[in-house]
């Protein structure tokens, strides 16, 4: 063992005395959460009842207020305290002895470790990905239920409120509990490894951001039992204010999911800025890191706006404020401006990390350097900046000031230029490569082709006269699914298959992964391409009944969507079986150059025995003798390095 390794290992020796063992119900964990969550609910309820009694407001026990304060605000804090996300900070704040170098909550040694507060970025990454896949399946099931209703023109299965809630919750789960956090999860696992860092900058904050997700997801699912979130995921006021009480579940779920996003984004920014290995200049960072850097900037700047918009709706509902009440000088369009000032950048929050994944996969599987690396990074920054100047293209028909339309159209169309640069650069990376069609590559190329269709329909929507004709039709539904399903989801699958060996230490079943890809690709196009046609012809979105003449197309779409839904079962089966009993994965199954491939699969608990030295660019395929990083001094290609367990 070299001297550097010994020094590094010493850093992680535990300091201070271990705290005395506590009863299982008092230790941080799900058991403690089970009693602390209701306790905090009762505390919240006590505050409401107490204050109302003091003020003499009848009834003292107003269940709607109790649910907002106790159920949606205080009880989640109880849950977080119960599982133990605040333990360290509480001890520190109260003056109890703390152990700054306490790594007892680091690493996962059995499946149970995934169900407790863990500060290891790799465990948190896996927690994120599995949790988001759970919500993906829940949201997908709702899509199936929506398509079942739409198979025939008349109303068949549900009352209208239930139907409206189905598509609203479907979209919210997919956006806030799947695409955004799934990317955060993959990046959580990969980014510190790629940077040569032992962990994220703030591991405890990282754990807290993860544990906010189940809260947000549960709230959105539970909203079914408190009807009211049936105004679409956009939750436009004043309809949202006029919805039944359950609408507050969405308003609050967005707060918890948004808080999670913001904390993670801050964590990424600090990690990327301060924890790069020696030699890792910004121009040597892999594009995935660049992508998450720009995404995190988008998240911290934009997310507070949707938080604000949903607070306004909830205040109007619960506290009878008048943000959107016209009779009291409220401003209805204000909601849309604030909402889209987040929700358009959110499109890029859901897209840029996927661009990063595609760059990694396409370069590695083409065995060629990424074409135009610097322009690729700069175009991410261009999208970041332009992304904040296009929000009102969602409002061309909204009745906003007409003069805003042309400038917003120009910026919208211009954003196609950096996006186009990325697509063309991926194609140029393929050119003259040595292309291997592994499953990650299939998903990445599937992403490029599907995303191009989504991008081109986006250009059509950017042109105001076309947008006026097709907005709120199925053309929009087709467009966002080409972008978010053909774009984001495909790259998420590319990323999961690409790093599955690194995450689990096992290989997945390649033929099943390819079957999954082809089935999804065909069913996806069969489902969503015809929506362009019926949209242009005049079928509105968000309806349960429609004109008979759209019946045939819709039946075809519904059947295709069921095939699409079934294709994901192959994925779930493959993941479960391979994780349990797949063949052991080598350290570097794809012959990648970035740093995560230099350590074992799965990586050691503290990632690196010694701090890696970055010596070159990340994609130097075909350059004789080129290396991106060196691990452990001269033992550069130590792919057989043993995990430090």
């Amino acid at each position: 063992m070299s001297t550097t390794e010994t020094t590094q290992a010493q850093v992680h020796v535990e300091h201070g005395a271990a705290p005395p063992p506590r009863h299982w119900a008092l230790r941080g964990g799900l058991a403690r959460a089970v009693w602390m969550t209701p306790l905090f609910f009762l505390i919240g309820m006590g505050i409401v009842v107490g204050l109302r009694a003091l003020a003499g407001w009848h009834p003292y026990l107003d269940w709607e207020v109790v649910i907002v304060v106790g159920g949606l605000t205080v009880a989640p804090i109880g849950f977080l305290a119960g599982v133990g996300t605040f333990d360290y900070w509480t001890r520190y704040a109260l003056g109890f002895p703390t152990r700054p170098e306490d790594h007892s909550s680091h690493g996962a040694y059995s499946w149970k470790d995934y169900f407790r507060v863990n500060t290891d970025h790799k465990v948190i990454g896996i927690q994120y990905v599995t949790t988001t896949i759970f919500f993906f399946l829940a949201g997908g099931l709702m899509a199936m239920l929506v398509r079942a209703e739409l198979a025939r023109p008349e109303t068949d299965f549900y009352d209208t409120q239930t139907y409206n809630q189905l598509f609203s919750v479907h979209a919210s789960l997919m956006i806030f509990l799947f695409v955004i956090p799934a990317f955060a999860g993959l990046a959580n696992f990969v980014v510190p490894l790629m940077l040569g860092a032992p962990d994220m900058a703030f591991p405890r904050l990282n754990a807290l951001s993860y544990w906010l997700l189940p809260i947000a997801g549960t709230m959105m699912l539970v909203s079914f039992f408190f009807p009211g979130f049936g105004a679409g995921w956009t939750n436009y006021a004043p309809l949202s204010v006029a919805q039944p009480f359950g609408n507050v579940f969405f308003s609050m779920a967005v707060q918890w999911a948004g808080a999670s996003s913001i904390m993670t984004a801050l964590n990424f920014l600090v990690t990327i800025i301060t924890m790069r290995a020696p030699g890792m200049t910004f121009w040597r960072m892999p594009l995935l890191v660049w992508a998450n850097f720009t995404t995190s900037l988008l998240v911290v700047i934009a997310t507070p706006f949707i938080a604000g918009s949903q607070f306004f709706v909830m205040f109007d509902k619960v506290m009878h404020t008048n943000f959107f009440n016209v009779t009291e000088h409220g401003y209805v369009l204000g909601y849309q401006h604030i909402f889209w000032f987040y929700s358009h950048p959110a499109v890029y929050i859901m897209m840029l990390p996927g661009f990063g994944i595609a760059s990694e996969v396409i370069s590695t599987f083409s065995r060629k350097p990424i074409f135009g690396y610097r322009l690729m990074a700069l175009s991410l920054m261009a999208i970041l900046v332009l992304g904040f100047s296009v929000w009102a293209h969602h409002m061309f028909v909204s009745g906003m000031a007409p003069y805003l339309r042309v400038p917003m159209m120009v910026t919208t169309l211009l954003i196609a230029v950096p996006t186009g640069i990325k697509v063309f650069s991926w194609l140029a990376t393929l050119w003259e490569g040595r292309i291997h069609f592994g499953a990650p590559m299939l998903w990445a190329l599937g992403f490029v082709s599907m995303f191009v269709i989504g991008g081109l329909s986006g250009i059509m929507l950017g042109a105001v006269p076309i947008d006026i004709h097709v907005s709120d039709t199925y053309f929009i539904v087709a467009h966002i699914h080409y972008v978010l399903l053909g774009g984001s989801l495909f790259t998420i699958f590319a990323g999961i298959y690409y790093w599955f060996p690194k995450m689990t230490g096992r290989m997945y079943n390649e033929p099943l992964a390819k079957l999954h890809f082809w089935l999804t690709l065909v069913a996806f196009n069969a489902t969503f391409f015809p929506m362009h046609i019926i949209g242009v012809q005049g079928m509105p979105r968000r309806v349960a009944t429609y004109e008979d003449r759209f019946g045939d197309w819709n039946l075809f779409i519904s059947i295709s969507s069921f095939v699409l839904g079934a294709s994901f079962m192959i994925f779930v089966y493959n993941m479960i079986v391979s994780w349990r009993s797949g063949p052991p994965a080598p350290a570097n199954p794809w012959r990648g150059m970035t740093i995560e491939w230099l350590v074992s699969s799965p990586p050691p608990v503290f990632n690196f025995d010694a701090v890696p030295q970055v010596v070159g660019n990340p994609y130097e395929y075909g350059v004789p003798g080129a290396r991106h990083a060196i691990l452990n001094g001269d033992r550069a290609a130590v792919t057989e390095l043993e995990p430090v367990r």
Partner: protein, 334 residues
């Protein structure tokens, strides 16, 4: 060479999809003419870009594919400034073309020409009401328009008593013009119909449980027919109660939520008025009293399976009489 052939095949295939699929609905306004122009120019540009991307992917996938055991790397090409400038400049040019064309069409479509017909549009959950201030303020549940004349719609989202409603959106696919109707604002829309016929008016913004049924019709007439229609409407205001009741039934949008065969109404949000009968009425009231009370105070009775969402209507006593007579007589015929 192979690359070019693939690109041509892709271009031909996508052009065929664009050409043979029945995309746009029938064109019935001058504004749609501009929209269609932008649509097809943009589609052409999209086909051009898609053909390049698809052919390069397909060609690379076939040409540069290697066997799994091939461990060689590709040539270390890091970039090419000339090509990178090219694929920044060409898309910029293409989107500039789209932007300029769109801005011109948009400016044209907002402009009215000649003698403009003003129509006031009132949208509420879940009905449209069109009134013609220069034609004696006649009201109609359908939008009647003369062909070849610019019409400007002034749209409000409110109930008859002026209380604000939620956001709706007015769209006639054949006119290619769409505009949200926003509480607290007056939004406008210009339509110049070019073809006589009957088209669908669709509410495009989710506005509540009856959103899917918030439909009306836009009926484009020749100048003479339109004048005749206006004349008839002005007389009908004082016509027999049955006729007046039927007009009120549709002009107040009862038809969008209730089914009543006599009025040609097929709404399904509220109870079916064809099935009104004396036995189902609580408290031994007459059918007449029951219907009257339900109109004046919609939450007075709740039918099982229906939520209380019918708005109050601001109707004069004569109007309520006419409406009640019409509904009760029509129901008794069933």
């Amino acid at each position: 060479m192979a690359l070019v052939s693939i690109a041509l095949v892709v271009a031909a295939a996508t052009t065929a999809i664009a050409y043979f699929v029945d995309w746009l609905p029938e064109q019935a306004s001058e504004e749609r003419r501009g929209m269609d122009l932008v649509f097809w120019v943009t589609v052409g540009i999209c086909i051009f870009v898609f053909s390049i991307v698809a052919s390069v992917s397909i060609y690379s996938g076939i040409k540069f594919r290697v066997r799994p055991d091939d461990d060689s790397d590709g040539p270390p090409i890091h970039g090419h400034t000339g090509i990178e400038i090219l694929w920044t400049a060409v898309p910029t040019t293409l989107v500039t073309i789209i932007a300029v064309l769109s801005a011109i069409v948009l400016a044209q479509n907002d402009r009215t020409k000649g003698d403009v017909l003003r129509v006031d549009v009132r949208a509420q959950q879940f009905a449209w009401e069109f009134s013609y201030p220069a034609q004696g303020n006649i009201k109609s549940a359908f939008l009647y328009l003369p062909v070849g004349r610019s019409t400007k719609l002034y749209m409000r989202s409110e109930h008859i008593d002026k209380t604000p409603d939620v956001i709706h959106s007015f769209w006639v696919p054949e006119f290619g013009q769409k505009q949200d109707v926003v509480p607290g604002e007056v939004t406008t829309l210009v339509i110049t119909p070019t073809r006589v016929g009957e088209y669908r008016v669709i509410c495009m913004e989710l506005c509540g449980l009856g959103h899917a049924l918030m439909r009306s019709r836009a009926i484009v007439l020749s100048e003479q027919d339109f004048a005749a229609w206006v004349r008839k409407q002005r007389q009908a205001a004082g016509g027999p109660p049955g006729e007046q009741g039927k007009t009120l039934f549709t002009s107040n949008g009862c038809n969008s939520c209730h089914t009543l065969t006599a009025a040609g109404a097929t709404g399904k949000v509220g109870p079916n008025l064809d099935k009104l009968d004396e036995e189902s009425i609580p408290g031994g009231k007459s059918l007449d009293e029951y219907v009257r009370e339900s109109i004046q105070n919609p939450s007075a009775y709740r039918r099982p399976g229906y939520s209380a969402q019918m708005p109050r209507f601001n109707l004069s006593k004569d109007q309520v009489d006419a409406l009640v007579t019409f509904i009760v007589e029509s129901a008794k015929k069933n």
